[in-house]
């Protein structure tokens, strides 16, 4: 089932929750809507589910305009951020709900509920009330309930938001495996880029009700379309720069910029893993001093003070490189920037090399 969204807009009072949003979700894929809170992700989901009406634009599933159907008729699976399980019904009846309101025969309901209980590995919990379940279990029941009537598409609103880190990680990979099994077209909302990158085939980065970029996780991370995406996905060093004749001047440092259109004043972005740290001075290297070294999973985070740039910089080194350098607080080092990015307003990124 392919989802097609064209020009969706939604206004709440003076607040534009969605502003002319268009995107495609290919059938059978798993797409993440990624963005900070207030970026319109949840509103988009609620419009697809039929809980909100768009002011403009339309959404289609396999060519059928959703506006022609009420929320009840759409048969879309929706998992709410806080699960919204029926508190007075046990696990079994929660999952059976969609089939009960469709007045399906008892035997069919039972078979489907048992199948889903097995899928979410909660067979022995069928008589528990939601209040007697852990967060992760509730989440799985909410998912099973949404799947019961074999929905055309599955929508998940911050599915792991309210869970602790370990349960989150388990459920994430479980959701990915589940999707690989049942191949249901799925859209999920998250503000966590790790989550989006780990689970999704495609990522839609949203901000202020607009789509900033759509692409595969690696593509979005490697080739951010603009400064918002650059800053939202992982840590980045942001440096104020003056641009003139093919160069960016940051403090006393000059970087060659392939091409720059737009203002004479702007920003240069450098990922921490693109900052090279050396003990010895190479040609064009920038002197810096180590402020603090923090071990991270898989490497070292080094905070540096760089007087020549007039600012601080963060460098991420892998373990091998980090231990080879043997950095300590206060050491003098030399930096080179493997890659720096410049974004012209509303234009494609421009490659820049130190």
């Amino acid at each position: 089932m392919t989802i097609e969204v064209r020009g969706l807009s939604k206004q709440f009072g003076k607040f534009a929750a969605l502003d002319n949003v268009s995107l495609d979700v290919p059938g059978g894929s798993l797409v993440a809507l990624l963005g900070p809170s207030g970026s319109g992700k949840t509103t988009l989901l609620r419009i697809l589910a039929g809980l909100e009406r768009p002011d403009a634009g339309f959404a289609r599933i396999d060519g059928l305009d959703l506006a022609s159907q009420s929320a009840r008729q759409r048969n879309i699976g929706l998992v709410f951020q806080h699960y919204a399980l029926f508190r007075h019904l046990d696990v079994y009846e929660n999952i059976a709900f969609a089939l009960r309101v469709r007045k399906r025969p008892r035997a069919e309901v039972d078979a489907r509920v048992r199948e889903l209980l097995a899928l979410i590995q909660l067979e022995s919990f069928e008589r528990r009330l939601p209040s007697q379940l852990s967060g992760g279990q509730r989440q799985r029941v909410a998912l099973a309930r949404a799947l019961a009537a074999r929905p055309r598409v599955l929508l998940l609103d911050e599915p792991f938001g309210a869970l602790d880190a370990q349960v989150r990680a388990e459920l994430r990979s479980w959701l990915r495996r589940l999707h690989d099994e049942i191949h249901l077209t799925t859209v999920f909302v998250t503000h966590d880029q790790d989550e989006a990158f780990e689970v999704a085939d495609r990522v839609v980065v949203m901000n202020h009700g607009k789509v900033e970029q759509i692409g595969a996780p690696a593509e979005v991370f490697e080739h951010p379309a603009n400064d918002f995406v650059m800053r939202f996905l992982g840590h980045v060093n942001v440096l104020d720069a003056e641009f003139a004749d093919g160069h960016a001047r940051i403090g006393e440092v000059r970087l060659a910029v392939a091409e720059h259109r737009g203002d004479s004043h702007g920003r240069v972005y450098v990922r921490p893993h693109d900052v090279e740290v050396a003990r010895t001075r190479a040609d064009g290297a920038i002197p810096a001093r180590v402020v603090r070294v923090t071990p991270l999973s898989g490497g070292l985070k080094v905070d540096l003070s760089v007087p020549a740039l007039g600012s601080r910089l963060r460098a991420d080194l892998d373990w091998e490189r980090g231990t080879a350098l043997g950095l300590r607080d206060g050491d003098d080092v030399f930096l080179s920037l493997r890659r720096a990015r410049v974004f012209a307003q509303g234009e494609a990124p421009v490659a820049a090399v130190a």
């Binding site: 809980l51 929320a71 009840r72 919204a84 029926f86 508190r87 007075h88 709900f97 309101v101 309930r145």
Partner: protein, 289 residues
């Protein structure tokens, strides 16, 4: 009728939070407790005992005669009939009003919230007089009603109207905070899962609010049966026809039939005690759901 109303705690609130040990000296504690118990004893227990003492003063036979008197029985019947019509009306109104107020933002919403409390703020006698002004023979609608042979004032419809008016806040006031606290997510989930509006109400909303609703119904019923002022104005005190229990008590009392008056009054007291017990039991369920 007892006006104090226990506020149902919102879902999830601890029922019995541990009380911090207090540092008050023992004599302070004793005095405070003695004042509280003394007050309740003087103003509640003694009158209660007096009612039953007076009711049985001339023995069980006289008590039995007083409450099985045909006029008394017709008062009992009318009281239950009026409550039996007013309470269901208020359940429908209360659920609809709370649904609208808790779920929607519409112009006039805050006015509606204020107006729901109006019967609690207005003296019941005035409420009764308003109905006489509207539906009485000299009232606004009086000529039209008498032309169609409908009698409202000094008849059952007037009593039901007055009772309904006086008791309509009870269900709504109980449900509005409950429904606002519970939110609408479960209903949204039900609709997305394919439920119709009616299925959503029966399968999701009603089970969520049932204890709060029952609590409101008990309060509403107790008040409906005990209402004096408004009903007194519209009923006309026709013996055996438009007398409710409280009015019957008053008539007996005015005729110096003290024993009979208190015997009938003891029925009202028993109704009140039963509703108190029901409230305790239900309030506990409201807290745990």
């Amino acid at each position: 009728m007892i006006e104090a109303r226990a506020v149902a705690a919102p879902a999830g609130a601890p029922a019995n939070a541990p009380v911090a040990a207090n540092d008050e000296p023992a004599w302070v504690r004793r005095i405070v407790i003695a004042v509280a118990i003394g007050f309740v004893g003087l103003f509640v227990l003694v009158p209660l005992a007096a009612v039953f003492g007076e009711a049985f003063r001339r023995g069980i036979a006289a008590y039995g005669r007083a409450i099985t008197d045909p006029v008394a029985l017709s008062a009992v019947k009318l009281t239950f009939l009026a409550a039996g019509i007013a309470v269901p009306l208020n359940v429908v109104f209360g659920v609809a009003a709370s649904w609208a107020i808790a779920r929607f933002r519409f112009p006039g919403r805050s006015i509606l919230i204020t107006l729901i409390d109006l019967p609690l703020a207005v003296s019941p006698v005035i409420a009764g007089m308003v109905f006489v002004l509207l539906f009485g023979r000299q009232g606004l609608l009086g000529p039209w009603l008498s032309a169609h042979g409908i009698q409202v004032i000094f008849a059952l419809p007037g009593i039901v109207l007055a009772t309904t008016f006086v008791t309509f806040p009870f269900v709504a006031r109980e449900l509005i905070p409950l429904m606002e606290a519970q939110g609408a997510e479960e209903e949204e989930a039900a609709i997305v899962l394919g439920a119709t509006g009616w299925q959503t109400f029966l399968r999701v909303t009603l089970p969520k609010i049932k204890w709060g609703l029952l609590y409101g119904v008990v309060l509403c019923t107790a008040r409906a049966m005990g209402e004096f002022g408004a009903v007194s104005v519209v009923s006309g005190h026709i013996r055996g026809r438009t007398n409710t229990l409280p009015l019957h008590v008053e008539i007996l009392y005015n005729e110096y039939e003290y024993q009979a008056a208190f015997a009938v009054a003891s029925l009202l007291v028993l109704l009140a005690l039963a509703s108190l017990v029901a409230r305790r039991v239900i309030a506990r369920r409201v807290e745990t759901t």
